[in-house]
Structure formats: structure tokens, C-alpha cells
Amino acid sequence: MTNGATHAVPVISWWAGGLGIGLILILAVALVQPIGVSTQYVVLDGVLLHRILPEVAAQSPYLVDTAAGWTLLNYEFFFVIGIPIGAFLASLATKRFSTRLVPLEWVRRFGPIPGRRLVWSFIGGFILLFGARFGGGCTSGHMISGVSQLAVSSLIFSAALFVSAILTARWLYGDWGKR
């Protein structure tokens, strides 16, 4: 059913991963700008909507601003497109590509029903990006790039994020009272 344990095992250690991400940030700051991901969800939304319903897309000043020129041909979008490409190649190279549908920890708590996991993943994704756009950034833009720049906004966003995520995870996974 699931093989959560095997593909979850990292092949590089935390320090190598952290150093790698830190160096990518430094390179990005030296060459172009700090890294960021969540804005590109809006850009893709804008470009797609503009293809299908141009009048509706043009009604949102936020979309018009963010998806400037209704094009995906820019550095920021290509950076974000690179992420799945790199992850795909890395998972193939290390034989860790896996189509497991329900993650191990989820099965333990909520059972192996695929539909339930998919619906909650969708709802969670909605909340995630709504929060990211509200805050003007996500884990990459605020936590990695922003905190590295000593931005006050990023420190506050990251602190609130962790408090909320830790409390939600402990509640969701039933850690209260049974240790």
C-alpha cells in the first residue's frame, strides 16, 4: 500500500542540504535576486486565466501587476519550473521516484483512504498559498531569503508560521496527552 519509510530517507545529510540551499541563495543574490516561489502560482494563474477569460483576468489589479505582460518567459518563473525538473531527476538518479498516494504518518492517523488524503491535500494547498500570498512570501521567499537579509517582516512571518504549523501538526497527529 505505502512504502513511506524507504523513499522518505534522505540521501544527503542536513548539513549538506542546508549548505546547498544557502549557496544557491548566495549565488542567486549575487547574480539576480533572492529566491522565491509562491508569487509564481499567481503568475501561472494570471497567464492561464488571461488565455481563457481575458476580461476577467484584467479585472484583478493584483493579477495584472503580478503576471506583468501575461507571460511566463521570465527568470522568476523559470526558477520555479526548475524545481520539479531538478527534483524529478534527483529522484530518478537515486531510485526514489515513488507514486505512493497516502503518506505513512497520514495512514497511521487517518487511515489509507486515498480520497480523504487528496481532498485534504487540496484544501491544505489552498490555505497554504492563500497564506503565502497574504504574507507576500513562503518558506523560500520569507524564511530562507528574507531571514537571511534580516528582514523584520520575514522574521515575524516565519515565527507565526512555525507556531501555527507546530500546533496544528501536534493537534492533527494526536500528540496531545499521549506521548
Binding site: 540551499i21 544557491i24 509562491s38 499567481v42 527534483a87 497554504l128 500570498r133 523584520v152 520575514s154 504549523a165
Partner: protein
């Protein structure tokens, strides 16, 4: 040229996320449950290296910085909302893309939900702006900027502290 650079840096980022377990639901959830701190150690290392490197570049005058605006209480509300989504999915906007590419269908659902959430936000923006984003606007504030000191003076010791913490935190058990 810029596009190719973006693709290359993004691919490197995605590969590191994948290889280090940051796209693993189990790893993220157990980090948030404080049972396996590997991901916390990874983030602290990335920030430690980033703090020192970015401010070193800045001191040399070659950094392209982009500091995000501070607005209160909107940012706190935003962080709290984001955290709920992070814990429910076990992914963040970047790692969801990595996990989707590794073949995880639940990460695809997260990406699709994310696209809808971002779209709804875009159309709610004028109303939200009036309520939550426009009060307590302070602009792009930095800690060193508000003290009026060179960033590296603060970033170097803080970066060292992050790296020290990353080394000192217990790794906790494996994925199990």
C-alpha cells in the same frame, strides 16, 4: 540567458530539496511534531550560510537584495494561515512542486489547491488590502537598518549562532 540561469538554479534547488528529504511528508510532519529535527537543522544551516554569504556580498556592494514590506497585524495572520496549510499538507509551495515531480499524487493536489488559493487571494486583494494590509505599514524594514549598522556586523554572529544551533540540536530518530 536569464531564463537558462533561472532554470539551472531552480533545478539545483529542487534537487537539493529532494535529496535532503525536505519534500518528504514524513520528514516535514515529524519535524513539526518535534520528533525528528533533521529539517530544522537543515533550515538553520541554510539561514546561517545565507546570513553570512548575503551580507558579505552586501558589504562588497554586489548583492541584489529584495526586502519584503512589514505590515502588522496582517503578516502574523498570514503566517498563522500558512502554518495550518503547511501542517495539513506536509508541503510548502516549493517542496510541493518537488514532491509532485517525485510522483506523489497528494502533492499534485496541493499544487492545484495552491493555484486556486492564489487565484482567490488575487480577487480578494482589494478588500483585504483595505482591511489588513494597509494598516501598520512600515515598508521594507531590516534589523540592522533600524539600528543603522552594517548588516554583516549582525549577520555574522547570528549566522554563526544558527550554524551552532543546527549542529547542537538533536537529530532525533529517522523517518520512522
Amino acid at each position: 540567458m536569464k531564463l537558462l540561469l533561472g532554470l539551472t538554479l531552480g533545478a539545483a534547488f529542487g534537487a537539493v530539496i529532494q535529496l535532503s528529504g525536505a519534500s518528504s511528508h514524513t520528514k516535514i510532519i515529524n519535524a513539526l511534531r518535534l520528533k525528528d529535527l533533521t529539517i530544522m537543522k537543515l533550515i538553520l544551516t541554510a539561514i546561517g550560510v545565507g546570513l553570512i554569504g548575503v551580507h558579505l556580498l552586501d558589504a562588497l556592494g554586489v548583492a541584489n537584495l529584495k526586502v519584503k514590506d512589514l505590515y502588522l497585524p496582517g503578516l502574523v495572520v498570514a503566517g498563522l494561515i500558512f502554518g495550518v496549510g503547511f501542517a495539513v499538507t506536509g508541503y510548502c509551495p516549493g517542496t510541493a512542486l518537488a514532491a509532485a515531480a517525485e510522483g506523489k499524487p497528494d502533492a499534485w493536489a496541493t499544487v492545484l489547491g495552491g493555484l486556486l488559493g492564489a487565484l482567490v487571494f488575487a480577487f480578494m486583494f482589494p478588500d483585504l488590502e483595505a482591511f489588513l494590509l494597509s494598516i501598520g505599514q512600515y515598508g521594507p524594514v531590516t534589523i540592522h537598518g533600524s539600528f543603522g549598522i552594517q548588516g554583516l556586523l549582525l549577520a555574522a554572529p547570528l549566522g554563526a549562532l544558527c550554524l551552532w544551533l543546527a549542529a547542537k540540536l538533536p537529530a532525533g530518530g529517522g523517518a520512522r
